[in-house]
């Protein structure tokens, strides 16, 4: 069977001062085009490592990763990454941060005017037209994260990789951005892999939840299909028994079968 993102028997071993540390082992995952995948697990379970493998920021020591049937070697703009701490360049305005990415991807084929239009459109998508000229230091954490999302989306990536994108935000801002992300993904039909530690976020946003076992040598413990109809409404889901059913399945996996080891840092 052909999938968009294929991860075959991937493993990651780090060389540390204390010897070899096996972070991931035997990861098999197939993601279809347009699918929204959430990676969930306790901290230290290697979910960010797995995302970095797909991003190409790390090279797998075992196995193969494919994107659209091409092996992933090194990072590239066809895989847009939204970093946990936004990673905007503080000396560039919101517009310039996005433009840097747009220029890199489309600069060879499009005019300056088109590049600027793309940048403006990406900022509009995340509702930040008014803050285009602001430096990252002048806008709130939620806005910075939105610029980061705009930057990743503006590259029109084949797959959008998000590493706990809303982890550092307060609950209200997080809910707001989750709703916006759902709209954006529905509109752009993006393929998304998102790392999260928030069970509600995983159930609300994703088509499938990949639950990881505890490290070291973490692997995929279970994959849960979230067959809730879209578009999803946060408030309606709160009364949906099926939603609670799915939620408790994830919770059960995390807290009864993969109880976080006490000595883990």
């Amino acid at each position: 069977m052909q999938s968009y993102v294929q991860i075959e028997n991937a493993g990651m071993v780090f060389n540390t001062k204390k010897g070899k540390f096996t972070a991931l082992t035997g990861i098999d995952l197939h993601v279809d085009q347009g699918e929204f995948i959430a990676l969930i697990g306790h901290s230290g379970c290697g979910k960010s490592t797995l995302l970095n493998l797909v991003a190409g920021l790390l090279d797998a020591t075992d196995g193969v990763l494919l994107l659209a049937n091409k092996e992933i070697k090194g990072p590239g703009p066809e895989r847009g990454v939204v970093f946990q701490n936004h990673s905007l360049l503080p000396w560039l305005s919101a517009f310039e941060n996005v433009y840097l990415a747009v220029e890199k991807v489309f600069g060879r084929t499009e005019s300056r005017k088109q590049l600027k239009a793309r940048t403006t459109a990406a900022l509009e998508l995340v509702g930040l037209t008014h803050a285009a000229g602001k430096l990252p230091g002048e806008i709130s954490g939620g806005m910075k994260q939105r610029v980061g999302i705009a930057r990743a989306l503006a590259m029109e990536p084949k797959v959008l990789l998000m590493d706990e994108p809303f982890g550092a935000l307060d609950a209200l801002t997080r809910a707001h951005l989750q709703d916006e992300l759902m709209k954006i993904v529905a509109a752009t039909k993006s393929t998304v892999i998102m790392v999260t530690h928030d069970v509600d976020e995983a159930v609300l946003l994703s088509d499938r939840i990949v639950m990881m076992t505890n490290g070291p040598a973490a692997t995929i413990g279970e994959i849960l299909a979230v067959d809730l109809p879209r578009p999803r409404e946060r408030l309606q889901l709160a009364h949906d028994p099926h939603y609670h059913d799915l939620r408790s399945k994830v919770l059960e996996f995390l807290y009864s079968r993969q109880m976080r080891p006490k000595e883990a840092a």
Binding site: A55, P77, F83, S87, K104, M155
Partner: protein, 305 residues
């Protein structure tokens, strides 16, 4: 308006200053001026008071310090007759600065020429040090191999007193002028190398990850990420370096001669003109302060936090 009777009931009102009654003389004056609120209770009046208070806070302590310094100086000058007092020195300074750019041959030039000559040497030596030191710092920061290769040499050479380099300079360059520039160069290069290198090493990994994900070209990485991220560190290095350079120039010129503030100090010592030596100390201090302040202003312009 009535006189103040401090009863417990109205005490808080009085203390809050809501209705402070002026002293009787002012009160009658205020009444006679058709009950306009006294100036110090109006908005502009309050602002005036606040501004004045701030002015006092900012100027009184430094002025007091200066005054104390001058008093101490006068006291020392009084007990030791060979040291001129503040008044005498001031008089000499007025004469000196009334004609700063006279020229009676290489051994007798105005104070302005001496300062400019020293600044010129510092400029050349420091400029060369920046031209070599900042790129070197970038490379040391970027390439670990180079860092390991050069760090032992830098560690040994950095603590060497600047003047120890003078004989080498005289030997190799044969003349005094380039030798003093060489001393400036070698003593001011280290802060720039080390600060630039540590700036490059401290670039957050996030920024470099952005560069990797976007696949930016080396040129873009340099102009959009490395350079702006390191600039504040570079400027710190530059600031430290110019301080060192200005510190060293006086000593170097004392040894090499020529026209310059350091040589001038030595010349005046030979003339036993102590007032001029004291003036030179102030001039060196003030010029150094100005250099530092100018660079601080530039650094502030390029800080993004």
């Amino acid at each position: 308006m009535s006189a103040i009777n401090a009863t417990p009931e109205n005490l808080s009102e009085i203390l809050s200053g809501e209705d402070i009654v002026p002293t009787s003389k002012e009160a009658s004056a205020a009444v006679s001026r058709a009950r306009r609120p006294p100036y110090f209770e109006t908005e502009s009046g309050k602002r005036f008071i606040e501004g004045t208070l701030n002015l006092f806070k900012n100027t009184i302590p430094p002025l007091l310090g200066m005054l104390l310094f001058v008093a101490l100086w006068a006291l020392i000058a009084n007990t030791n007759k060979s040291i001129p007092g503040p008044v005498e020195t001031w008089g000499a300074a007025v004469v000196l600065f009334s004609d700063p750019f006279y020229n009676n041959g290489p051994n007798d030039m105005g104070i302005g020429w001496n300062i400019l000559n020293s600044l010129y040497r510092v400029g050349i030596g420091f400029g060369l040090a920046a031209a070599v030191g900042i790129p070197l710092g970038f490379m040391i920061g970027r390439f670990d191999f180079l860092n390991r290769m050069l760090s032992p040499i830098i560690s040994i050479l950095r603590p060497v007193s600047p003047l120890a380099w003078l004989p080498i300079g005289l030997l190799v360059l044969q003349r005094a002028e380039p030798a003093s520039i060489w001393v400036i160069f070698i003593s001011s290069i280290w802060p720039m190398v080390l600060n630039t290198a540590s700036g490059v090493q401290r670039i957050p990994q996030d920024y470099l990850n952005v560069a990797r994900v976007l696949n930016l070209s080396e040129l873009k990485v340099f102009t959009k990420i490395l350079f702006p991220a390191v600039l504040p560190y570079v400027l710190t290095g530059v600031r430290l370096a110019i301080g060192v350079a200005w510190l060293v120039i006086v000593a170097a010129e004392m040894l090499t001669g020529g026209v310059g503030i350091g040589f001038w100090v030595w010349d005046e010592w030979n003339n036993l003109n102590v007032a001029h030596i004291i003036i030179a100390i102030f001039v060196v201090g003030i010029v150094g302060l100005l250099l530092e302040q100018a660079l601080m202003l530039i650094a502030k312009r390029f800080s993004y936090d």
